[in-house]
């Protein structure tokens, strides 16, 4: 359970203080006072304050701005048996996330201000990671009529998306991008051309040909990626492309960025670490949408994280009940959990092999998502909210889903040995998670 006792002062000693937003990378201290950053950088020496001060030795660990996940599914309301906002927020904190954005494909759909308000209230009760609702683009996510963006944003929504379903109508997408400009929020799209993807259960390729499973071609994603980029160019709106999975998507995003079109994009840790081969044996914990692609796609995505074509890493945390995954592959639901493995998957697959630095990791998991979604946090600058992640970059651990704080257990990483683990998560100066050995 998270320790939510507030302390007036928190002093993080002797860590590697790493904040790309302020070009900071020194061994030193971070001092939090009354929920905001008072100091981040050089060692402070003797610190005395009137009031409650807790001191944590961070030697050998990285102290960074708290991770921000702009894409997760917390299932409440509707499927509280699978995850609740409270369990999701606690899982987030355990994974080093100080803030998460909850996608609106709940039941009922988060497509109005009352639903947004409900999520915010539940998150406050949970008192773990911050939870920001994302409102639906269309009423009921039916792809027909625009939902009330203004009302939802007024109630606390930070973006709009019909994630889980693509916006099939180009006209609706165009209108959403135009209307969202009024509020300067991103429109996050699940890029999938529905007629090409229909009935597909995995990547269309050599493995699907062998297993006799209907495939989803990479073009199902890429056609929507270029459509959205062109609509962003036409409208001047900010399109954020969810869970990119293919090489050509990366090339199209690069094309858009080169022309100063307002396009940002995310990738999930699983698309950076696993290939379609993981589906072998009809492993439903490797079933997701978009599907796991080829080794070539994975390499391109890694390079795109490195060079910034892909702006940020998001988990697409998607818990399912075990018996929903315990069925025939084609009938099993898509998605895996990711909040508690994201950091380790990134360290193991991108940092340890030397593809990206820890500074890039922190930028893609914290600074960049906070900046793109206009959220507090993502920095250790003096006066900022004290949302901080402390992680042990060398911690080697074996993934045991039974120990997760999420209700979900559906992970393809079960039993794998990974490196890197959050040891302390601080939200607004409050310690919400500490790893116990």
């Amino acid at each position: 359970m998270p320790n939510s006792t507030p302390h007036q002062y928190v002093l993080l000693r002797n860590g590697r203080v790493l904040d790309p937003s302020s070009n900071l990378d020194v061994t030193g201290d971070v001092l939090v006072a009354n929920g905001v950053i008072e100091h981040a950088g050089a060692p402070l020496g003797d610190v005395r304050r009137d009031g409650d001060l807790v001191e944590i030795d961070c030697a050998g660990q990285v102290v960074s701005p708290g991770f921000v996940d702009v894409h997760c599914h917390l299932r409440e309301p509707g499927r509280e048996d699978v995850e609740t906002i409270a369990t999701g927020a606690r899982a987030a904190a355990a994974g080093g996330f100080t803030a998460v954005c909850a996608m609106p494909n709940t039941d009922p759909v988060t497509d109005n201000q009352a639903a947004v308000g409900f999520i915010i209230r539940q998150a406050m009760r949970a008192a773990a990671a911050r939870v920001y609702p994302i409102g639906a683009i269309s009423v009921g996510q039916k792809g027909e009529a625009l939902a009330e963006f203004g009302e939802m944003i007024g109630a606390g929504a930070v973006a709009v998306s019909d994630d889980g379903k693509p916006v099939a109508s180009a006209q609706l997408m165009r209108t959403a991008l135009e209307y969202a400009r009024t509020f300067e929020i991103p429109v996050a799209d699940h890029c999938e051309e529905p007629t090409l993807a229909k009935g597909g259960a995995m990547n269309e390729g050599v493995v699907s040909a062998r297993l006799g499973l209907k495939g989803i071609p990479s073009e199902a994603e890429e056609i929507m990626v270029i459509r959205d980029i062109l609509l962003a160019r036409r409208t001047g709106g900010h399109v954020h492309l969810c869970h990119m999975s293919t090489r050509t998507s990366v090339e199209l995003i690069r094309w858009g960025k080169d022309r100063n079109i307002r396009v940002t994009a995310e990738v999930c840790p699983h698309h950076l670490s696993l290939t379609e081969e993981s589906v072998e044996g009809y492993n439903t914990n490797a079933k997701m949408n978009p599907p796991l692609r080829t080794a070539e796609d994975v390499e391109y995505l890694k390079q795109a994280v490195k060079d910034g074509t892909i702006d940020l890493v998001a988990t697409d945390h998607a818990p399912h009940h075990y018996d929903e995954k315990e069925r025939e592959f084609s009938d099993a639901p898509n998605g895996i959990i990711g909040l508690e493995t994201a950091l380790a998957v990134m360290v193991t697959n991108l940092v340890e092999p030397g593809i990206i630095s820890y500074a890039t990791l922190v930028d893609r998991m914290s600074c960049s998502p906070a900046r793109i979604f206009h959220l507090p946090g993502g920095t250790l600058r003096r006066g900022s909210v004290a949302d901080i992640t402390v992680f042990d970059p060398a911690a080697r651990w074996s993934v045991d889903p039974a120990t997760f704080l999420s209700k979900g257990r559906n992970t393809p990483y079960a039993g794998m040995s990974l490196t890197g683990r959050a040891t302390c998560t601080i939200v607004g100066g409050r310690i919400v998670y500490r790893l116990t050995s």
């Binding site: 040909a209 006799g212 069925r327 592959f329």
Partner: protein
């Protein structure tokens, strides 16, 4: 139980070695004769309980298995999805566990989902035989096709077999491809590109675009049923056009450089993928395939139940 010769299950030909395929075909040979007797029954599997679990409609495969089981004196129960607890929403794994609790020995399963047989096999102790899973495999069909080819040509090695038609929706195709390749045959496929799986070349097959090229190349054509129930997807413009471009007709066969063996796993759409005078013609072994199906399934049941291949002749009783 784990068979010393086959392992626990028969899920597909992809995972079988050439030696095991050879063993299955050789074991099927002595069982052919039982079907020719006046009393078509031997006591080999007396006391064994076998459940035929058919989640998809099937007539010939289910009957063929049932004949094989009964001719070996096993006790059989047929479960079809319509009218069963499956139609009430019971999951496959719950169905399997309930059957298991009734202490059965083997399950023959047909299911619309690729991988369903493997899914079942991983969760129950009984032997599982895949009688067709989605668009993945139909191993006993592959075996009976090979047995029929071997009967006719006296060999499989070096044979050129072309699988024609709707490979996309076929489970027979993969079992044939893997089985024949392991036995040293060359395999090609031919059909409209819209009815071939993307990346099918990765399975090591030649791809002919025109049926005339296939006829010129092949020793045998295995002509697949055009799955009319799946054609709403607009995979081909019309059945008429399909017959004209890809249908196997006597006229096209007459231009072949050699006699070509004609096979079809059935049921046939006469006048679509195969014309009647080809299906009923002198080179057709379509009914021999059906006959061989029973013998092959008897061999599978016998070996999975722990039967000794060296004693297969004696097992005839």
């Amino acid at each position: 139980m784990n068979s010393p010769h086959l392992g626990k299950d028969l899920l597909g030909l992809e995972e079988l070695t050439a030696a095991k395929i050879q063993l299955l075909l050789d074991t099927a040979e002595p069982f052919k004769e039982i079907s020719l007797r006046a009393i078509k029954k031997v006591p080999t599997l007396r006391g064994a309980t076998i459940v035929n679990l058919f989640f998809e409609p099937s007539t010939r495969t289910r009957i063929s298995f049932e004949f094989a089981e009964k001719r070996l004196s096993a006790d059989t129960v047929n479960v079809a999805s319509a009218g069963s607890s499956v139609s009430k929403g019971e999951t496959l794994v719950d169905t399997a566990r309930n059957l298991e609790a009734m202490k059965i020995d083997m399950v023959v399963v047909r299911h619309a989902a690729s991988g369903a047989a493997r899914f079942l096999a991983q969760r129950i102790e009984s032997n599982v035989i895949n009688a067709g899973d989605g668009t993945h495999e139909h191993p006993t069909q592959g075996l009976l096709d090979m047995l029929t080819l071997r009967d006719h040509f006296k060999r499989l090695e070096g044979l050129r077999v072309c699988i024609c038609g709707d490979v996309l929706h076929s489970r027979v195709a993969r079992s044939n491809i893997w089985g024949l390749q392991k036995m040293g045959a060359e395999v090609a496929i031919c059909g409209p590109r819209s009815l071939l799986p993307n990346h099918v070349e990765s399975l090591g097959v030649h791809v002919f675009r025109r049926i005339e090229e296939a006829i010129e190349w092949a020793d045998a054509l295995n002509i697949l049923r055009l799955q009319l129930e799946r054609m709403q997807g607009g995979y081909i413009p019309s059945l008429r056009e399909y017959n004209r471009v890809f249908g196997v007709t006597r006229e096209k066969l007459e231009r072949a450089p050699r006699d070509i063996l004609i096979m079809h796993p059935g049921p046939m759409n006469r006048g679509v993928e195969i014309d009647s005078d080809v299906a009923d013609g002198p080179h057709s072994v379509i009914l021999d395939q059906v006959t061989n199906g029973v013998a092959v399934r008897m061999a599978v049941l016998y070996l999975l139940a722990g039967g000794n291949p060296a004693l297969a002749e004696a097992a005839k009783g």
